[in-house]
Structure formats: structure tokens, C-alpha cells
């Protein structure tokens, strides 16, 4: 009977309440799951894929720029104890897919013992087709996506050069990591030839035979290797790779945590409202003899049900949302590391379980507090009309004191240094600031009501006054809604502030730093992410067409500096010293490069300088494959890409240590009075049919950079939507409850002369006031959080100095959007109130 009275009947009679609560839970869970799933898919193949691809290999030898194949012969003495496996690996653009894939060149005969995809009871491909010609194995998923089968041809772009690969066989990747779905496996010799790396390997893997001692094998292997090379577990390469993405990963995790916060608040709002509105029935049942435990178990059972249903829907929605968010997250990743193939968004049972757990735990936790509240009300008191829940002066002062303490804590945390390069204190400060919204929302509503309440008779608009008074009276319910909407607003405002600051800074950066007339890069993937490098021949073609003094190819490799990954790059100092390039704050770019060229010095980007504490006049020392390079730093330039750090030396220095595998891209400084459009046509004509490249003029280049930036931050649009959903769910839930609780009052208003329109206006005004309060508080806190993100988090995470630019128009739009959304969300409860028949209600309510 208790189950029926408290749960089943209300569910059947007012299913929308249950539905709105479920939607609240599902929205929160979906936000968390989509953020995590999209981040994982965008990053997975870069770091997590390393060990997966390494398979049974326990040691590997690798070096930036690759290894000579002759090293295999040097390792013959250990071949009795371990399989010595050559590997060539590169990300290439698969034209049919319009995206990057991992091209893995391995010894197919040996590899059956190394990689799971080729081992065990899996059917081995027709090796003849693979070993003769450019035959490749592709995964069943990729084959299905592209509708291809063995014998079909695939086109890949390597260094901008289109090449054809034959599908030799399709392999099954069931039960394996998603990484394998975007892999082309080829014989190592074919891969070397295809990639133009004949005689070179990217790494050599060692798979110990039997019970060989790994440490001993490592020592013996190291003894056979030349100086500067050593065997290490694949996990070390993974850790190295992870370091490059550590900041990014942390920020994505932080974004997930913030989603979780919003989700938690939303879930708490809907559940708390749902529980508190049972006060009357709970009191009645208790006065009739129901035990606390029995009532509590039914309420918690409902929370559990809502958690499970909302969790399942949220998980499903989260995986759909992840597909939509993937492009945006990949762009963010591409700002750190170019051309990582993305994994498909696959259903992940662990992540689904996490989503479900979040929903259930948060739902139960959210139900406990209000449950305690209604259980603490003596049954007879609960049956009486609730008096207005106005805040007492002591409570107001206590809340103010807590808010001040939180503000002080946030300010102190924001001033603290990063922990292990991660802006943990600053992000905690941001969370504290947002939590303050939840603490202060009750006080805010109370103050708002007092402002409108005192001069009741003097102010116009009875509906608005009644709305303010009612909102204050229902403060405990309304505060949850105001708090959750305010947190969503604060989040959106903070991100908008960061994006606006970022955009203004990047615009300034492109204007002052991008001086080239033309910019040549490999054909971008359909997703807009660049994959691979330019073929060295393209540099030669450009130099022949426009003169060697015009071409500035940019070469880069990832190397270790003080044990941490950084980008080591080569640029044509002899060219840029006449034109200038990247911006050096307060200095002439051309002069800095002229000095760097004359003194054979280096320039570093701001993230490198920040991360390693390097400034002008310091010396950087690199242990590179061909020896040690020491260069004085003569300039620190602004850079909003490689946040792990970038050191640029003259290309002659770079090419002394690394083979010319082609530049990442190339800038062209055309002679004065040259027409960039004509020059571009000449270049494209010269490479037509041989290379797939893009050439952008200066204006297009800036537009492309800003376009990439916009795509990176397209997630802000999603935040507007999340804010809207939160506002709708919170306002709808709370106002429907308040209207339900105030049936008698609303009927009285009608009876003493209130029109339907006034009742409608009253409830819509409540929604509007709620939205206004949330928008005002959310905007203030959002700006504060935005300042923390711009001035502290960005600097600590990425080493980027950003100019703080507040997006006033966006802030106004956001406030209007939130208030408008709340007004719209207030309409259904308002219509319920307006349609109420006063006679029937007064008769029913006594």
C-alpha cells in the first residue's frame, strides 16, 4: 500500500514528473559520457594504442627520425633469446575514408607471434598478395565502412603523394581494441618503399622466447646498440606520448568533472523536488503508522528506479553525443599532435557501467537529503499548510560568511602554482566558485523576494509581486533550480570568456605572426585534421619556381628535453630573417631570426619557456640521434599550438641530425609585387597529378587558423544547449511542483479577482525571476571562473599567455537566452495554473 501511495499511483497519475526527473538524470549522465568517450576516441590511438599495437613485444628500440635497417644485423646475437621484429609505422591519409589511418609495416611471417590481430586462431591472409606488391590487411570494420573487399584498391596520400594499395585480406578485430579498426597492415619492405623509407625502420621490437629474463635481455641488447640508443619497454613510449597530451587529457577530464558537477546538480534538483513534494503523503502515511524505514525504502527505491532509467538513457545519449563531439575534440588534440587517427566511438561496457553508477549514486545521494528533511518534519506538522520558508537573519549572515570564505579560498587557490604542470589548484578554485552558486542561490532568491516584497503595495504588477513572494516562500525548492541553472550559466560564461580571450589573442597572433604569402601543407583529411608531411620534392619544386630565398619549410620531430617530450623543429632562418615570422612580444621578428641565423642560435615558444624556465640568453642542450646539439636561445615567441614545447633551430642544424623525411608544411615569401594567386596556380600546376597538397594565401591561412580555432571551440555551442536543457528541466520540475503545492493559493487568487492571464503571468514571472537570478549570479561567477581559466589555467596547462577579453555581446545573449528559456519552461506550469478551476480546487482543498 505504501508503495502504491508513494510511488506507483503518483507515477501513473502524473507521469510527466517522473519523465522530467528521468530527463534530468539522463542529460547529466549523457554530458559526462559524451565528454569521456569523445576524448578517449580522439586520444586513444596516440598513447593507449601504443601498447596495444606493440602486442607481445616486451622491449623496443626507437629513435626520433627512425633507425637504420642495418641495426637488425647488429642484434643477431640476441635473436636466440628473442624474436627481433622490424616495424615501420606512419599515419597516412586514406582518401576513401577522408581521414588518417595508422600504416603498420611488419614482418608478416614473424608477426603472427607478436600482434594479436595476426596470431592465435585467426585466419592468416594470403601472404603472397601481401608480400608481392603493396598489399594491405584491413579490419572488417574499415572494410565494411568503405564497402571494400580483398582485391579492391585503396588510395593513400603519403607526403602529399597519392599511392595505391591493394586490399590483400580483411582481418577480424573482434574483441580487440578499437585502435585496430583504423590500421592498414603491410609487409615491412612494402611499407618502407611506400613511405620512401627504404633501409630505415621506425622501431625494432623484441619478443622474448620462453622464460628469458627481460632485464638480462635488455642489458645484452643495449650492449649491442650504438651510443644514444637503448631498449625500453613499449610502456615507456606510451608514457612519453602521454606526457605530450597530459595537459590536454587533464583538461578534458576536468571538463568531464565539470559536466559531472552540472549533472549532479541537475539530478539533485529533480530528485530533491520529487521527494519534497511528497511531504503531505509521507506525513499522512507516518501518522497512520508507516515506519520511517518503510517510507524511506520506497522513496529510495524510486530514486534507484529513476537512476537506472535515467542512467541507461543517459549512457545511450552520451555515446550519440560523443560522435557529435568527436570532431571538436580531435581538433583540440590536433593543436598538440598532428594527424592522430581517431578511434570509432564504440560502446564501452566499462564506461556505460560508470554512467549508470553515476546516475544511481547521484540519484540516491540526491534523494537522501530531502528525504531526511521530510522525515524530520513531525507528521502532523507535515499535514498542515507549510508556512513561508523565509530565511532568518542568522541564516542569511551564516550564508554570507560561508560565501565569503569560499571566495577567499577560491582566490587563494587561484594564486597557487600548478602541481606537476597541472592546474589542479586553479581548477579547484573554479569548482569552489561554482559550488558557491549552490550555497548562495537560496540567499539570492530570498534577497530578490525581499526587494520586491517590502513595497508590495507601491509597486505595480500584482502578478510580479506575487511571483517574487511565492519564489521566496518556495525558496528551498526554487534554490535548487536557481543553483543548477546558475552553475550551467557560469560554465557557459566561463568558457565563452576563455574562447573570446583566446580568439582575440589568436587573431592578434595571426596578424602579427603570419606574414607568408603562401602556405603549403598536405591535403587535409575530410575531418579537417592534417595528416602526414610534405614530400621533400615539393620544397625543391617551390625553390625552383620562386627562388630558394622564398621557401621556409618547417621540419619537426618529437624528442626528449630533460626527459620530457618536446617538438624540435627546423626552419629556414636564412629566409625568415628577411621577413620575420612568428611574433616575439616587443621585438621585431625579422631581427630575432637574423640574429638566430648569424649566431646559429635557437628560438623557443612560450610554452617551452614557461615549462622549462628558459629565457633569452639561456642555452638549450639536446641529445639527438646523431649527437649533442647546444644552442643559445635568442627569442621566445608566442605560439598557440604545441603546448608541450617547441624549439626551433635553423633547418641546416635540423637536417644534420634527422633524415629529410619532408617538412610538416612550408611558407613561401614571394618577391615584392608578386601575385599570390598566380603563384599558387603555378605551384599547383607544377605538382598536379603527382602530389595532393593545399596552398593557402595569407588571407586564407588566417581564415584557416581561425576556422580551426572555431572548430576546436565549437563545444561552446553544445554548452549553450546544455545550459538550455538544464534550465528547462530545472525550471519545469520546480515550477510544476510549486504550482502543485500552491493550488489552493492560486485558486484563491482567482476567486478574489485574479484573471487567468494574471495567474499565467505570475507563474511565468516566477520562471523569469528564477532565470534572471540564475543568469545574474551565473554570469558574475562565470566571469570570475573565466578569468581563472584565461589567466591561470591556460598559462599553467599550456604555457599560453592570453589577453583577457570579455565577450560582452555573448554574455548578454546568454543572459537573454537563459531568461527566455526559463520563461518558455515556465509556460507549461503556468498553463496548468491558469487552467485550474477555482471552484473545483477550493472544494477539493477545503
Amino acid at each position: 500500500m505504501i508503495l502504491k501511495a508513494l510511488l506507483l499511483r503518483p507515477l501513473l497519475r502524473r507521469p510527466w514528473r517522473f519523465l522530467v526527473t528521468v530527463v534530468g538524470v539522463a542529460t547529466g549522465v549523457a554530458a559526462v559520457i559524451s565528454t569521456i568517450a569523445a576524448s578517449r576516441a580522439a586520444i586513444a590511438s596516440f598513447a593507449e594504442g601504443i601498447e596495444e599495437v606493440a602486442g607481445a613485444a616486451r622491449l623496443e628500440i626507437a629513435s626520433p627520425g627512425g633507425l637504420p635497417e642495418t641495426l637488425l644485423a647488429e642484434l643477431r646475437p640476441v635473436s636466440g633469446d628473442a624474436l627481433v621484429v622490424p616495424v615501420v609505422e606512419e599515419t597516412v591519409l586514406l582518401l576513401e575514408l577522408g581521414d588518417g589511418v595508422r600504416l603498420l609495416g611488419v614482418d608478416l611471417l614473424l608477426d603472427a607471434e607478436v600482434r594479436p590481430v595476426l596470431s592465435g586462431d585467426r585466419e592468416l591472409p594470403d601472404l603472397d598478395a601481401t608480400l608481392l606488391g603493396f598489399g594491405a590487411l584491413v579490419s572488417r570494420r574499415l572494410a565494411e565502412d568503405l564497402d571494400i573487399a580483398a582485391g579492391d584498391a585503396l588510395s593513400v596520400s603519403i607526403g602529399g603523394r597519392p599511392r595505391s594499395v591493394e586490399v590483400a585480406a580483411v582481418f577480424e578485430a573482434d574483441g580487440l581494441s578499437a585502435v585496430w579498426e583504423r590500421v592498414l597492415i603491410m609487409d615491412v619492405a612494402a611499407a618502407q618503399e611506400l613511405l620512401g623509407r627504404v633501409g630505415r625502420l621506425d622501431r625494432i621490437e623484441l619478443v622474448p622466447r620462453g622464460s628469458v629474463d627481460l632485464d638480462e635481455l635488455r642489458v645484452r641488447t643495449d650492449a649491442l646498440l650504438p651510443d644514444g640508443l637503448a631498449a625500453s619497454p613499449p610502456g615507456e613510449r606510451r608514457r612519453f606520448a602521454e606526457q605530450m597530451l597530459a595537459s590536454l587529457r587533464f583538461n578534458l577530464v576536468a571538463l568531464s568533472a565539470i559536466s559531472l558537477l552540472v549533472a549532479g546538480v541537475l539530478i539533485a534538483t529533480t530528485l530533491a523536488t520529487s521527494v519534497v513534494q511528497r511531504l503531505f503523503v509521507v506525513s499522512l502515511l507516518r501518522s497512520l503508522g508507516a515506519s520511517r524505514a518503510r517510507v524511506a525504502s520506497v522513496v529510495l527505491l524510486e530514486a534507484l528506479g529513476i537512476g537506472i532509467v535515467g542512467g541507461v538513457l543517459g549512457v545511450a545519449g552520451g555515446f550519440v553525443g560523443a560522435r557529435l563531439a568527436l570532431a571538436s575534440v580531435r581538433f583540440t588534440v590536433a593543436s598538440v599532435v598532428r594527424g592522430i587517427p581517431a578511434s570509432e566511438i564504440r560502446f564501452d561496457p566499462q564506461l556505460a557501467a560508470l554512467g549508470l553508477a553515476i546516475a544511481v549514486v547521484t540519484a540516491l545521494a540526491a534523494a537522501v537529503l530531502p528525504l531526511m528533511e521530510i522525515m524530520s518534519v513531525p507528521p502532523l506538522q507535515g499535514l498542515r499548510t507549510a508556512p513561508p520558508q523565509r530565511m532568518r537573519t542568522r541564516s542569511r549572515l551564516a550564508t554570507v560568511a560561508v560565501l565569503l570564505a569560499m571566495a577567499a579560498a577560491a582566490a587563494a587557490l587561484a594564486r597557487m602554482p600548478a602541481i606537476d604542470d597541472l592546474p589542479i589548484p586553479a581548477l579547484t578554485a573554479a569548482l569552489v566558485a561554482m559550488a558557491a552558486l549552490l550555497v548562495g542561490s537560496g540567499l539570492l532568491l530570498d534577497t530578490l523576494a525581499r526587494l520586491g516584497h517590502a513595497p508590495f503595495a507601491r509597486l505595480r504588477g500584482a502578478a510580479l509581486q506575487l511571483a517574487a513572494a511565492a519564489l521566496s516562500a518556495g525558496r528551498r525548492r526554487a534554490a535548487w533550480a536557481a543553483g543548477s541553472v546558475a552553475v550551467a550559466v557560469a560554465l557557459a560564461v566561463a568558457i565563452a570568456t576563455m574562447v573570446s580571450s583566446f580568439r582575440a589573442t589568436v587573431e592578434g597572433w595571426t596578424t602579427s605572426g603570419m606574414r607568408a604569402d603562401l602556405w603549403v601543407r598536405p591535403l587535409a583529411a575530410g575531418t579537417g585534421v592534417w595528416v602526414g608531411r610534405l614530400d621533400p620534392e615539393i620544397v625543391t619544386i617551390a625553390e625552383e619556381l620562386f627562388g630558394p630565398e622564398t621557401a621556409d619549410p618547417f621540419y619537426s620531430q618529437t624528442v626528449a628535453y630533460q626527459g620530457r617530450p618536446v617538438s624540435f623543429a627546423g626552419a629556414a632562418f636564412d629566409v625568415v630573417r628577411f621577413h620575420g615570422s612568428v611574433p616575439f612580444p616587443g621585438r621585431d621578428s625579422a631581427e630575432v631570426f637574423d640574429r638566430a641565423w648569424r649566431e646559429r642560435a635557437a628560438v623557443v615558444n612560450e610554452p617551452f619557456a614557461t615549462r622549462f624556465g628558459i629565457g633569452e640568453g639561456d642555452t638549450v642542450r639536446f641529445e639527438l640521434p646523431g649527437g649533442v646539439l647546444e644552442r643559445e636561445v635568442v627569442g621566445v615567441f608566442r605560439d598557440y599550438s604545441r603546448s608541450h614545447g617547441l624549439v626551433v633551430v635553423d633547418r641546416s642544424d635540423f637536417l644534420r641530425f634527422f633524415p629529410d623525411a619532408g617538412p610538416d608544411d612550408m611558407a613561401l615569401f614571394l618577391p615584392p609585387e608578386s601575385d599570390a594567386g598566380v603563384a599558387r596556380e603555378r605551384l599547383l600546376e607544377a605538382v598536379r597529378g603527382r602530389f595532393l597538397v593545399e596552398a593557402l594565401d595569407n588571407r586564407e591561412l588566417r581564415a584557416a587558423v581561425l576556422g580551426a580555432f572555431e572548430r576546436t571551440f565549437s563545444i561552446t555551442t553544445a554548452l549553450y544547449l546544455v545550459t538550455a536543457v538544464v534550465a528547462v528541466v530545472a525550471v519545469l520540475t520546480v515550477l510544476l511542483t510549486l504550482v502543485g503545492e500552491r493550488r489552493r493559493e492560486l485558486a484563491t487568487v482567482r476567486a478574489v479577482g485574479g484573471s487567468r492571464g494574471q495567474v499565467l503571468a505570475m507563474v511565468v514571472s516566477e520562471a523569469g525571476l528564477l532565470g534572471l537570478a540564475a543568469a545574474a549570479a551565473g554570469t558574475v561567477v562565470g566571469i570570475a571562473v573565466g578569468v581563472i581559466l584565461v589567466k591561470v589555467v591556460n598559462l599553467q596547462s599550456f604555457g599560453w599567455s592570453l589577453e583577457l577579453v570579455l565577450p560582452w555581446s555573448s554574455l548578454v545573449t546568454m543572459a537573454v537566452w537563459v531568461v527566455a528559456t526559463c520563461l518558455v519552461a515556465g509556460l507549461p506550469p503556468a498553463l496548468v495554473a491558469a487552467r485550474m478551476q477555482p471552484a473545483a480546487v477550493l472544494r477539493e482543498e477545503g
Binding site: 507549510a386 513561508p388 507601491r458 506575487l466 487568487v749 476567486a751 478574489v752 479577482g753 485574479g754
Partner: protein, 226 residues
């Protein structure tokens, strides 16, 4: 009693559905109320007293017959006309007081004026004084006794100088002494304001103060006495 009646019910019928059952709340009820007159409706619970009051208060419409209040036909009047009628010509007092809990005494009393876009602070404070709550003007309903709440409701019902006051069991939630005081106050104010009063009551003493008593049973008028 002079002129046309302010309230006229002519063969009025009103039905409700209660689950599958059709309830005949009023059957052919005819009744008039002249200006300044006090009429009491008496009868057992469920006899149709409150239904009749709701019709006179213009918060409900008849299914059959005609209800005219201050010249307005309740059955055919538009929603706006009914709202205007309630705002300007009708005052209501309920058994359960029905004060807006988050408004003070002063605000509750001024509510009918505020809903009509009017202000008359002097009138509001004067009425509050007259019902003996001058010292409680800034208090909330939850801070008042039952009698004080009903006195507030009486002031609210009269603040806009209605021509008709409708009171549904105004003493039903009060002890006899407080109830008598409220009725005395209501009658005194009604007289001074010149309003007609239609009240439903179980209380014989309250009915005894009426100019006329109409007895209802099963929705029908079964007796009248003056």
C-alpha cells in the same frame, strides 16, 4: 429592500461527475438577494450550499437555469466579465481562510485592489484597524490565530467595496466565541459598506442573525424562513 436584486438564481441546476457517478449538486434552485440583505444557506454537508456560493461568487457556472449577479449573467458572461465582476463586485470569505501564505496581512487585504491595478493604502489600513489587526499588519498568516486569519479574510472580502459578499462556513474552523465575533464583525462591516451577504453555515446562531434563511437538501430548496 429596494430596486432589482443584486443576486438572482432562477431554476439553477449544477451537476458534477464524481468518478462514474453524476452528482446533482443543485436542482432547480431559485433565490434572490437584495442589496444590503443577509441571507443564510443552511443544510447538511453535501446539500449544495458551497456549489450555490461558488455560482454567486462567479467562480463556477450553472448547467441549467440563470444566475445573475449585479446584472451579469454568470452562464453567458465572458471570462473577462467574470473576472471584472469578482474584482469589483464580489468579496469572498472561506471556511479555511485561504489567505496567501507568503503575503502579510496588509498585502493579503490589498490583494483584490492590486489584482485590479488599484491602490488604496488608507482604505486597507482602515479596514485592518476595523477588524482589530492594526498591530498585526506586517504579520504573515502563519503567525496569526484562526480568528485573526478569518478577520483578515473579512477585511480582504470588503476592501474593494463589493456589492455582494459570499461567505462559505466562515465560522466552521473557529471556536464558537471567535466564530460569533467574526460574524458580528462581518455583519457590522457589511452593513456599514452596504453590501449584500450570502453565507453558508451549519451554525444555528449564525443563521439566526440572517434576514432570511434558505434551507437546502439534496441540492433543492426545501425551506425558507425570514
Amino acid at each position: 429592500m429596494t430596486g432589482a436584486p443584486v443576486v438572482e438564481l432562477d431554476r439553477v441546476g449544477r451537476n458534477y461527475r464524481r468518478g462514474d457517478e453524476e452528482v446533482h449538486a443543485l436542482v432547480d434552485l431559485s433565490l434572490t438577494l437584495d442589496s444590503g440583505e443577509l441571507v443564510a444557506l443552511v443544510g447538511p454537508s453535501g446539500c449544495g450550499k458551497s456549489t450555490a456560493l461558488n455560482l454567486v461568487a462567479a467562480v463556477d457556472r450553472p448547467d441549467r437555469g440563470r444566475v445573475t449577479v449585479c446584472g451579469v449573467d454568470i452562464a453567458t458572461a465572458s471570462e473577462n466579465e467574470l473576472v471584472a465582476l469578482r474584482r469589483r463586485s464580489i468579496g469572498m470569505v472561506f471556511q479555511a481562510f485561504h489567505l496567501v501564505p507568503h503575503l502579510t496581512v496588509e498585502e493579503n487585504v490589498s490583494l483584490p485592489l492590486a489584482l485590479d491595478g488599484r491602490r488604496d493604502p488608507d482604505r486597507v489600513l482602515d479596514l485592518i484597524d476595523r477588524v482589530g489587526l492594526g498591530h498585526r499588519a506586517r504579520h504573515y498568516p502563519s503567525e496569526l490565530s484562526g480568528g485573526e486569519q478569518q478577520r483578515t479574510a473579512v477585511a480582504r472580502a470588503l476592501v474593494h467595496r463589493p456589492r455582494v459578499v459570499v461567505a462559505d462556513e466562515p465560522t466552521g474552523n473557529l471556536d464558537s466565541r471567535t466564530g460569533a465575533a467574526v460574524i458580528e464583525l462581518l455583519d457590522e462591516l457589511r452593513r456599514s459598506e452596504g453590501a449584500a451577504l450570502l453565507l453558508a453555515t451549519h451554525d444555528a446562531r449564525v443563521a439566526g442573525a440572517a434576514d432570511r434563511v434558505c434551507e437546502l437538501a439534496d441540492g433543492r430548496l426545501v425551506g425558507r424562513r425570514s
